[in-house]
């Protein structure tokens, strides 16, 4: 059974996702001992490539999605099932910072599809779980998805395509804003539909997805290429003043929501 990691990376005018994917792929090789395949387009692919991906799969970027900071090419993730060259795949966001072999545990789980259903935030221990809306259910996260090539996993990705194509309809039904397409929301809906509109506990990765959120910045403790120790600085607003707080972390995977911060962390890689 072949195993590997699949990364989708389409550069936007603001962010170089290809570069992020290269840094993440190096960490995939180092910590997980797995090959990494990239799905990208000719505009994102640099002329001189410094890193050799296991496979480079060319696709057409869907440039119809926008968020507050500009174009966000995140549509088409449903193609992961057909494009993955592996029997067992971890589909990963490019801004996920791997610092351990923890993700390998997802292959041990007795399921053919799993993703995170709970999160925690560094420096925000009391943060609540995100829901699609006040009147809907909790969000699943498309940041890390493990799937095997089975009929059910295929159905989930096919359903993801259907939800993407009818995102406005589902936004109206569930009471969230449809202006920006989010894979997290589409996955939450697709997974429920395929499981007969119920929650399937086996589809949840049994630990939290760790986010680095607002007012929080992560700094590398060393300049080594495979650094695993970080200092997290947090601006804690209290009575109109900022009180700086910090935390030291090591050997911990985390998802960096601020792209600028992620780019800083991989500058020397």
């Amino acid at each position: 059974m072949s195993k590997g990691v699949l990364l989708f990376a389409f550069n936007s005018p603001k962010y170089n996702y290809y570069e992020m994917a290269v840094a993440t792929a190096k960490r995939v090789n180092h910590f997980l001992g797995l090959p990494a395949t990239i799905v990208t387009d000719s505009e994102s692919l640099p002329i001189k490539q410094t890193y050799q991906f296991d496979n480079v799969i060319m696709a057409t970027a869907d440039k119809t999605n926008f968020r507050d900071w500009g174009m966000w090419i995140n549509k088409g993730r449903y193609r992961a099932y057909e494009l993955s060259p592996y029997d067992e795949t971890i589909l990963l966001d490019t801004d996920y910072m791997i610092n351990s072999d923890k993700l390998l545990k997802t292959f041990e789980l007795p399921t053919d599809f799993c993703c995170h259903d709970t999160t925690s935030f560094l420096m925000h221990p009391e943060a609540t779980q995100e829901a699609l809306s006040t009147y809907s259910f909790n969000t699943l996260w498309a940041t890390v998805v493990m799937f095997r090539k089975t009929k059910r996993a295929k159905q989930i990705f096919e359903c993801l395509e259907m939800v993407q194509n009818n995102f406005e309809h589902y936004a109206t039904m569930h009471g969230f804003i449809s202006a920006t397409f989010r894979n997290d929301y589409a996955l939450s809906l697709a997974n429920r539909i395929v499981n007969g509109h119920t929650v399937c506990k086996e589809d949840a990765i049994p630990w939290n997805l760790l986010h680095v959120g607002k007012n929080t910045t992560v700094y590398r403790n060393t300049d080594s290429e495979i650094n695993t120790e970080y200092t997290v600085l947090f601006d804690n607003w209290s009575r109109g003043k900022i009180r700086k707080e910090y935390l030291s972390i090591k050997d911990t995977d985390f998802h960096v929501m601020t792209k600028e911060n992620f780019m800083e962390l991989i500058t020397y890689e």
């Binding site: 545990k105 420096m123 925000h124 221990p125 707080e245």
Partner: protein, 101 residues
């Protein structure tokens, strides 16, 4: 700028609450063990139950709420060693972070 200077210049305080939550989150996941077609948590309740029984096979509810028939001694061995290793790592990192100000 190195991170020690950064902390000093920012006059940042070490957040013990966040550190505690971070460590709990980090090590909680390490107690998860997939074995004998079930998913388990290496906690004292499960370990003590497995220890108290003398049967070769026992049926337990796993983390997915499925009843799974397992070889008792084998699961006990796996959960006990996981518990010991993870608790030692957690304690060591906690002790180190406790000294920070």
């Amino acid at each position: 700028m190195d991170t020690t200077t950064l902390i000093t210049e920012a006059k940042a305080r070490f957040s013990h609450n966040s550190a505690k939550a971070y460590l709990k989150d980090k090590y909680d996941s390490k107690f998860i063990v997939a074995d004998q077609a079930g998913l388990w948590r290496a906690n004292l309740e499960t370990i003590n139950f497995l220890n108290s029984s003398s049967d070769e096979w026992v049926i337990l509810i796993d983390k997915f709420d499925n009843p799974v028939k397992v070889l008792r001694a084998s699961l006990l061995d796996k959960l006990s060693s996981t518990y010991k290793t993870v608790m030692e790592e957690w304690h060591a990192e906690w002790t180190m972070l406790e000294t920070k100000r």
